[in-house]
């Protein structure tokens, strides 16, 4: 039921009350995560199965089925939450729907096989809140994702949505809202960390008119997907934040700039805007308060540089997304040269929380200079991948071990964590590696007798990450284990940035290409120590002279890896060896004696370089091998080794001898 346009605060409250009255709080709700991550593992089929089974069991009126936004725990998807009990089922198949309805909904029993099992203690956990992945989180802005259908404004209103907007529009003057934002200590979540309240204040005072507010949902950062999940899972919280911001600044028009690669986000945001407009929560004379604000969606063209505010505005104007120098601030002259306040998705979503709970409450969360929570996209070689929202100041150890559950392959070791995407850096987390110790000693970072200080206990906030040589960025956190080559990672980011550089200024356009050339040389075994020095010099120049932050921070991934993993660079340059076995030109693949002869690698090999009979030791014909790594990826027994180029035959010869030795011994014993 949708009422006519709500024309007063009372009308909204009455509407909310009627909605809540209609709903039975004891009613069972099955929330199936339908974020993009879960969609990729087939959640739509699970939702359909639930719908069919509910109809078959005649429970359609007693049980509510919701396809919600991202619940965060992508690793375990597709997942479902049974409320009000909070039972958490994971890795669902469509056939499980019947099981859950028969046993849990009707029978009141748990389906043990679908519950989360703690990997080490093997303990079965029933409730979502008790799972270690969720336990240490503080889901201020992500919490509602699992409770609402993102395409239903009624759901959002039932959960108390738009109360902050009402509070701001009726009881707070614009100056007071800005004061409140300043007091809360909220800093921009897009990566730069500029104080939001100060930006708003500056924009309000700027004399130009009209003024614009923009939500930057152009999440181009590889390895980060929190903005996407918010747009998909809780679009109204972004709208609400934007209305409050617009009121505080004195703007009547807004834009949401979304990546075109995020079709579900575009869809859900469009629905949300449509619904809010129909109800009169945006548009002219919002709830009879006399304030007008409307907004529209603009789809981006897929250029990373459009994350930069000036480039994004150029793009919105229908031009090429080239940034300009910011000696004139965008809060003075932004979109169409009018004062413009641009904030990131997560920043806008924080606004209603601050207004609702108060600046003081908010400023108690976090560290001295970084308040509130931050959503991180925890991915890579970690056990529990997904989105985690944690209070600022939490240590890397807590994120990686307590929430992340440690490295995904127990046979490998944690090596590093990359934060801040292409603008950020790679931080060392594994300290027992003697190579790393020697490297830091050689570079003069520590004394010979000193222990390497692990960054695992680094409190994660804006300033600490910057101090450690990385940055917060938009919050991607990519875990790497001993299989990741740090030179290759640096090269990866430079290649990305070279492709994405808009080409307007010379240092970025030319400098990144030269740095990339050097890294390509190092990775192919043709580098020298002189190259490492050139890299450091180039990095300095590019940082100092680039026009925008894409170029300004481009050398970060290189510099941080040179600092923390100099030994690995030296191995490439001097020994012509890739310790992690990633750089193709420096690696040979070979099979060792742990091979069980399962044939998997033989099937995977594209060049028929692997020979062997079933259940017998396989061999790689080195001349035929193209080092594609397909066999390494597929082998379940860790029998494929990536070793120094040219050593393949030696390892295989040894394996052959050892493989035959026990066979001979057994044969002798049986005689």
């Amino acid at each position: 039921m949708t009422p006519a346009k709500l024309d007063s605060i009372q009308a909204l409250e009455q509407f909310r009350a009627s909605l809540i009255k209609q709903r039975d709080s004891r009613k069972t709700i099955i929330s199936v995560c339908a974020g993009t991550g879960c969609q990729a593992c087939g959640c739509q089929a699970v939702v359909n199965a639930f719908r069919t089974e509910l109809a078959k069991a005649n429970l359609e009126n007693d049980v509510e089925l919701k396809a919600t936004g991202c619940h965060g725990f992508c690793e375990r998807g597709p997942l479902a939450l049974i409320q009000p009990e909070g039972i958490f089922y994971q890795k669902l198949k469509p056939s499980d729907a019947k099981l859950i309805i028969d046993q849990t909904i009707v029978g009141g029993r748990l389906v043990n096989s679908l519950l989360y099992r703690e990997p080490i203690s093997k303990e079965v956990i029933k409730h979502q809140a008790d799972i270690p992945f969720y336990k240490k989180q503080m889901r201020l802005i992500f919490g509602k994702n699992g409770m609402m259908d993102p395409t239903s404004i009624n759901d959002y209103i039932c959960l108390g949505g738009y109360t902050s907007m009402v509070k701001a529009l009726t009881t707070m003057a614009p100056e007071k809202i800005i004061e409140s934002m300043k007091k809360s200590g909220l800093r921009g979540r897009g990566g730069g960390g500029f104080p939001t309240g100060r930006k708003w204040e500056h924009c309000r005072r700027s004399p130009g008119s009209p003024k614009y507010v923009i939500c930057n949902a152009d999440e181009g950062d590889p390895g980060a997907f929190m903005d996407r999940s918010l747009c998909e899972g809780n679009p109204h919280s972004i709208l609400e934040g934007m209305v409050i911001g617009a009121f505080a600044i004195g703007s009547n028009e807004g834009f949401i700039y979304v990546r075109n690669e995020y079709p579900l986000a575009v869809k859900n945001l469009s629905i949300a805007i449509e619904q809010a407009r129909e109800l009169g929560l945006i548009g002219t004379n919002i709830l009879g308060t006399g304030f007008d604000f409307d907004l529209e969606i603009s789809r981006g063209g897929g250029a990373f540089v459009c994350g930069e505010s000036t480039a994004l505005m150029a793009s919105l104007e229908g031009k090429m997304g080239e940034p300009r120098a910011k000696y004139i601030h965008t809060v003075d002259q932004g979109l169409w040269d009018k004062p413009t306040c641009l904030n990131n998705v997560e920043t806008w979503a924080n606004v209603p929380v601050i207004i609702e709970k108060g600046a003081e409450w908010f400023s108690k969360i976090g560290t001295d200079n970084s308040k509130g929570t931050k959503v991180f996209a925890l991915t890579g070689k970690v056990f529990n991948t997904g989105l985690v929202e944690v209070p600022m100041g939490i240590t890397l150890r807590e994120i990686l071990y307590d929430i992340g559950g440690g490295v995904s392959n127990p046979k490998k070791k944690f090596k590093a964590v990359q934060t801040g995407g292409p603008s950020g850096g790679t931080l060392i987390v594994e300290t027992s590696d003697p190579d790393i110790h020697d490297s830091l000693v050689a570079h003069g970072d520590i004394r010979e007798d000193e222990q390497v200080k692990s960054l695992l206990d680094l409190p994660v906030d804006f300033d600490e990450l910057t101090r450690a040589g990385s940055m917060m960025g938009s919050g991607g956190m990519i875990v790497m284990d001993s299989d990741s080559c740090m030179v290759d990672v640096a090269r990866y980011f430079l290649r990305f940035l070279q492709e994405e550089s808009c080409g307007k200024c010379v240092p970025c356009r030319e400098g990144i290409v030269v740095m990339l050339d050097i890294l390509n040389r190092i990775c192919s075994g043709e580098g020298s120590m002189e190259d490492i020095r050139s890299l450091e010099q180039l990095a300095q120049v590019i940082t100092d002279t680039s026009l925008c932050q894409l170029g300004g921070s481009a050398p970060n991934p290189v510099l941080s890896t040179v600092t923390y993993f100099r030994q690995e660079y030296m191995a490439h340059c001097v020994d012509k060896r890739c310790p992690a076995g990633v750089c193709k030109d420096l690696v040979s693949h070979a099979i060792d004696e742990t091979c069980t002869g399962c044939f998997a690698c033989v099937k995977a090999c594209p060049t028929n370089a692997i020979v062997g009979e079933p259940k017998k030791l396989h061999m790689i014909i080195q001349d035929k091998c193209i080092q594609c790594g397909a066999c390494y990826q597929i082998c379940r027994h860790d029998s494929i080794k990536r070793i120094k180029r040219g050593d393949g035959d030696k390892l295989q010869q040894r394996a052959k001898e050892r493989w035959q030795a026990p066979v001979r011994a057994t044969a002798a014993a049986s005689v």
Binding site: A40, C41, Q44, P222, G300, L316, M320, S484, I634
Partner: protein
């Protein structure tokens, strides 16, 4: 002569409809071009000229935008679009092995379209489902946690024109 299958009359109607949907304002240019590309699988020259005329923008600006952004192509793309995510999370989980495999199997390099216009292979920088890396999309269907052997399965499905799978549990 036009380089696309539609007659000029059809083309004009279609573009009028698309421009009308967003309004002929500069801020809608990217979206208009995206919709045109979605229909033709690339941006035909005639279409861009028509957009310039209808929106009263210089053709140079339309070309500027069409060549600046990654999502646009001036060359026709294949019927089946395979896209490998090579974002950081996918990269550390060896997305390059998957790209290599697809390049070999399809006989084209990343960024190219096969001669019979059946397949386009592309590697993109992030599809935003990083927890499931390496990730591939085949005609907008997501395939998470890709392995070399799953690629065969995926290609069989794309080639066989089977109905999109209803269930894929990684």
């Amino acid at each position: 002569m036009s380089d696309h299958p539609e007659t000029n009359f059809d083309l004009e109607q279609r573009i009028t409809a698309i421009v009308k949907e967003y309004g002929a304002k500069p801020s809608a240019l990217i979206m208009i071009l995206q919709d045109i590309q979605k229909h033709f699988r690339y941006l035909p020259k005639d279409a861009m000229e028509m957009v310039a005329k209808k929106m009263r923008l210089p053709l140079a600006q339309i070309y500027g935008v069409a060549t600046f952004y990654r999502s646009f192509s001036l060359e026709p793309k294949g019927k089946n679009h395979i896209c490998v995510c090579t974002g950081t999370a996918c990269h550390v989980r060896q997305a390059n092995v998957i790209v290599d495999k697809l390049e070999r199997d399809l006989g084209i390099k990343s960024g190219q379209t096969s001669a019979d216009q059946q397949y386009s292979l592309e590697s993109v920088n992030c599809l935003g489902a990083c927890a499931l890396g390496p990730l591939v999309t085949a005609n907008d269907v997501y395939w998470g946690n890709m392995t070399v052997s799953k690629v065969d399965k995926m290609l069989a499905e794309v080639r066989g024109k089977k109905t999109p799978r209803t269930e894929e549990v990684a």
